[in-house]
């Protein structure tokens, strides 16, 4: 790479290299066809220029084999591009099971991030190198987008739903992240740095500074404050132990997996999907809990599920 005049961002995540290889392939194909078209046009332009007003063109209707050829070759190439790109995309969309989960809330015009152990950050994200990190993201107002060019990942951050990306940094350093979905006046200022540290430095960073409460214990406190326990611990409402990631049977006979989206919906719109065997008595908590508190509650409910070592680790 040229120093001082880079043509691609640093490759700082496990998926960056794969994306770049695909990019090189497409660039090569593009350059080849651009060259073919340019040179052919140039050659014809010179070779068959009109030399005198009497010049006659040779009339040609077309050529079927040629048409077939230049339909077939691009077709094969785009099928290769599609399969390669889709394969990489699907693989990159699945976070590894061991990923550490960090929660991200976007609002006009700042990023609020919270580590499972509790520390909160604004417009900065400290992560250890070599560990898969999964970001679970939502927005308080408009659509934002969390984009780290050095990691080759981005995803819109949409109000009313959870989206996620994951990455595993391969190099320590400071990498720009941006809001990449236009979100109003100070859109271009809504960014910051991902700071990738050696694991031991990360541990030190975690223990230094204001420690704060872990997500789970904040969630547990909220759980108590909002008196969830009066129903969900007494049989009036469905128990929440071991509910996360399990299929839940609903009154209409269908079942859903109790993921983050379902838990969020059940707290905000409790009567939308009622668990079979329970009356629809839960009041809505819309307007009473913030997006961040919702994430804490969900983290707590997750921690109630066995085999769920990651969040409480």
């Amino acid at each position: 790479m040229w120093q001082g005049f880079p043509i691609q961002p640093e490759q700082a995540s496990t998926i960056a290299r794969g994306v770049d290889h695909l990019y090189y392939f497409l660039t090569a194909v593009d350059l080849f066809f651009t060259a073919v078209i340019f040179l052919t046009v140039f050659y014809f332009a010179v070779r068959y220029r009109r030399r005198s007003p009497q010049d006659k063109a040779t009339q040609i209707e077309g050529n079927l084999p040629l048409e077939a050829l230049w339909t077939f070759i691009p077709l094969v190439l785009v099928v290769v591009m599609f399969l390669w790109g889709a394969n990489l995309y699907i693989r990159n969309s699945r976070p590894p099971t061991a990923a550490m989960e960090i929660f991200v809330v976007g609002k006009q015009w700042m990023w609020k991030l919270q580590h499972p152990e509790g520390p909160r950050e604004i417009n900065e994200l400290h992560v250890p190198v070599g560990l898969p990190i999964k970001l679970t993201m939502t927005s308080e107002d408009v659509i934002h987008n969390f984009y780290v060019p050095a990691f080759r990942v981005q995803k819109d951050v949409v109000p009313g739903m959870y989206t996620s990306i994951w990455f595993e940094a391969t190099k320590t350093g400071r990498y720009h992240f941006f809001c990449n979905q236009y979100c109003g006046t100070n859109h271009s200022l809504m960014g910051g740095y991902v700071i990738v540290m050696k694991p031991e430095d990360y541990q030190q960073w975690l223990s230094g500074g204001v420690r704060g409460e872990s997500m789970v214990s904040s969630g547990a406190k909220l759980y108590e404050q909002l008196a969830c326990i009066t129903c969900h611990g007494t049989g009036k409402g469905p128990p929440l132990v071991d509910v996360f990631a399990r299929p839940v049977k609903l009154t209409d006979g269908t079942s859903v997996v109790a993921d983050e989206v379902y838990l969020r919906e059940s707290i905000l719109y409790p009567s939308a999907k009622i668990v079979m065997g329970y009356p629809p008595i839960m009041p809505t908590y819309k307007g009473q809990v913030t997006e961040e508190q919702l994430l804490q509650l969900i983290a707590y409910i997750k921690s109630l599920s066995s085999g769920e070592g990651k969040v409480t680790k």
């Binding site: 880079p6 043509i7 691609q8 961002p9 994306v19 695909l22 990019y23 497409l26 593009d30 066809f33 078209i37 340019f38 052919t40 046009v41 014809f44 068959y48 220029r49 009109r50 006659k56 063109a57 040779t58 009339q59 040609i60 209707e61 077309g62 050529n63 048409e67 339909t71 691009p74 785009v78 599609f82 390669w84 889709a86 990489l88 995309y89 699907i90 107002d141 408009v142 659509i143 060019p149 990942v153 981005q154 995803k155 819109d156 949409v158 109000p159 009313g160 739903m161 989206t163 720009h176 809001c179 990449n180 236009y182 109003g184 006046t185 100070n186 859109h187 271009s188 200022l189 819309k286």
Partner: protein, 542 residues
């Protein structure tokens, strides 16, 4: 242009231009040729209006911290640039100006099927333009041309409703124009003019019209829903009642992706006319070029999801939309190859329109091929909404569609006005535009891959070098666009008289005087040969 010089002479005594000189004779005309002129003036105004916003934006981006504008102002400028250029310039450009002028001429008809509807379309367009300008002049709008919710419905405190109304109204103009063309091409063709004898420009215009009538209403309803939600503070895109902001993106892109083909398809049609006329040769593979227009129009409706690969759309939908997006590359490639092959063994001359045509092939090739990056899922996840996208669509819309529009305008200018422009200046302008364009937009591909997001008023310092290059190119490009404005206006009065067929081109429009009489043809022509029947008998300058 030696032909025109030799000619001298004077304009035909009676033509559509001197059929009346009063303001009323223009503002109440139902003559498709005069309506085309009305559109020409209106969209030229909007082009330079929208272009000046682009100049200010590029100036601002010379420095990372913004050289002269507040972010809020910058946001309004790019929103205005997008809205005006897309809805008030590009969409009407070739269809409403060249299409209006040429569709009846090319099929040997006296006018479009619904002349008054045609005039009404222009008035609707002007009213839409008025609302948009009103929004701009009374504080602007800062949502981008995409009007994404909930920013547009809830959080923006600018003139969203007025701008949305402008887009909504202008949309109806587009629908009615498309409707008029479809009916005209179906029902008004001269005797003997079968579908496979139609000039390829008309195939392209027909395909475009299909997109206009089937796509635009979906944009209209989504804009109405945005406006309603803004008015009553609740609606179907509102997450607070369980609504889905991503639904808006689906409805918006269902129109707005095909809209890109509303811009480029007519330009492709112009290419087929220019390349054949200046190589004095039949088009290579007529049916392939014709059907590829229809194929592009049809497939264009199946690919909109590639704007939403990182929007929270399902992964399955992403994969499907990616596959379908690649499909659209095939007919586009077929066209480029056929144009290139048309040059083979031709007798190629290089007047200004042909230079624009060759510029188009180059820029469209680069724009089209970089589209493949964006259809490729894994790469799009990196370059989505970066300057790579900005570069790509400018290569298509400006490098492709505007080059085609200017090429067509230069080609048919002698038919429209009866006079020639100075060819030397026109060639110079084509060259300046080509160079300026590449200098402006090529660096943006690299910026995009480096990760510079679009719609940024201020940016990270590492992106500065390429931004300065781009801004320098923009100033050349700006000059390039001003040159034709000068000599074309000059030629309307002082240009040499062109005669009916200065290029020795085939096609019914060249068989009537320039400028044509109000009723187009003295007698309804009878068509006995294929389009582009060059070489059968030498069409000489009359």
């Amino acid at each position: 242009m030696e032909a025109a010089d030799v000619q001298g002479g004077s304009l035909p005594r009676i033509n559509y231009l001197n059929a009346g000189y009063s303001i009323k004779s223009w503002l109440l005309t139902t003559d498709h040729k005069r309506i085309a002129i009305l559109y020409l003036f209106s969209i030229t105004f909007f082009f330079f209006f929208g272009g000046s916003a682009a100049v200010l934006m590029r100036l601002n981006l010379v420095e990372p911290q913004g050289a002269l504008l507040e972010p809020a102002t910058y946001n309004k400028l790019f929103s205005m640039h997008g809205i005006i250029m897309v809805f008030l310039f590009m969409i009407p450009s070739i269809p409403a100006v060249l299409g209006n002028f040429l569709v009846p001429l090319m099929i040997g008809a006296r006018d479009l099927a619904f002349p008054r509807l045609n005039l009404l379309s222009w008035y609707i367009f002007i009213i839409g333009g008025f609302f948009t300008l009103y929004a701009v002049l009374t504080g602007g709008v800062d949502t981008g041309w995409t009007f994404y919710t909930p920013l547009s419905t809830t959080y923006s405190n600018t003139n969203v409703i007025s701008a949305a109304l402008g887009v909504f109204i202008a949309g109806f103009s587009s629908i009615l124009t498309g409707l008029n063309f479809i009916v005209t091409i179906h029902k008004m063709r001269a005797p003997g003019l079968t579908w496979f004898r139609l000039p390829l420009f008309l195939w392209a215009i027909y395909a475009t019209s299909v997109i206009q009538i089937l796509g635009t209403p979906v944009l209209a309803i989504s804009i109405v829903l945005v406006a309603l939600e803004r008015l009553i503070h609740v609606g179907v895109f509102d997450p607070a009642v369980g609504g889905d902001p991503i639904l808006f993106q689906h409805l918006f892109w269902f129109y707005s992706h095909p809209a890109v083909y509303i811009m480029i398809l007519p330009s492709m049609g112009v290419m087929s006319e220019l390349i054949t006329a200046f190589s004095k040769k039949r088009i290579f593979g007529y049916k392939f070029v014709a059907f590829s227009s229809v194929a592009i129009a049809a497939i264009s409706f199946l690919v909109w999801g590639h704007h939403m690969f990182v929007a929270g759309q399902s992964i399955y939908a992403g994969v499907v939309f990616s596959a379908l997006s690649f499909a659209v590359a095939i007919p586009s490639a077929i066209k480029v190859f056929n144009w290139t092959a048309t040059l083979y063994k031709g007798s190629v001359s290089y007047q200004a329109p042909m230079l624009y045509a060759i510029g188009f092939i180059g820029l469209f090739t680069m724009g089209g091929l970089t589209g493949l990056f964006l259809a490729t899922l894994a790469i799009d996840v990196h370059v989505h909404a970066t300057y790579f996208v900005v570069a790509h669509f400018h290569y298509i819309m400006v490098g492709g569609a505007v080059m085609g529009y200017l090429g067509g305008l230069h080609f048919w200018w002698p038919k429209i006005t009866g006079r020639m422009y100075p060819d030397g200046w026109a060639r110079l302008a084509a060259a300046v535009i080509f160079v300026g364009f590449n200098l402006t937009f090529f660096p943006q591909y690299i910026l995009g891959y480096l990760g510079m997001p679009r719609r940024y008023a201020v940016y990270a310092p590492e992106f500065q070098v390429l931004n300065v290059m781009s801004s320098a190119g923009a100033s050349i490009l700006g000059v390039g666009y001003l040159i034709p404005l000068v000599y074309l206006i000059w030629s309307m009065r002082y240009g040499p008289v062109a005669g009916p067929n200065p290029w020795g081109a085939k096609g019914l429009e060249w068989q009537t005087p320039s400028p044509p009489p109000t009723e187009n043809f003295e007698e309804t022509p009878v068509v006995t040969e294929e389009a582009y029947a060059y070489g059968t008998e030498e069409t000489q300058v009359a």
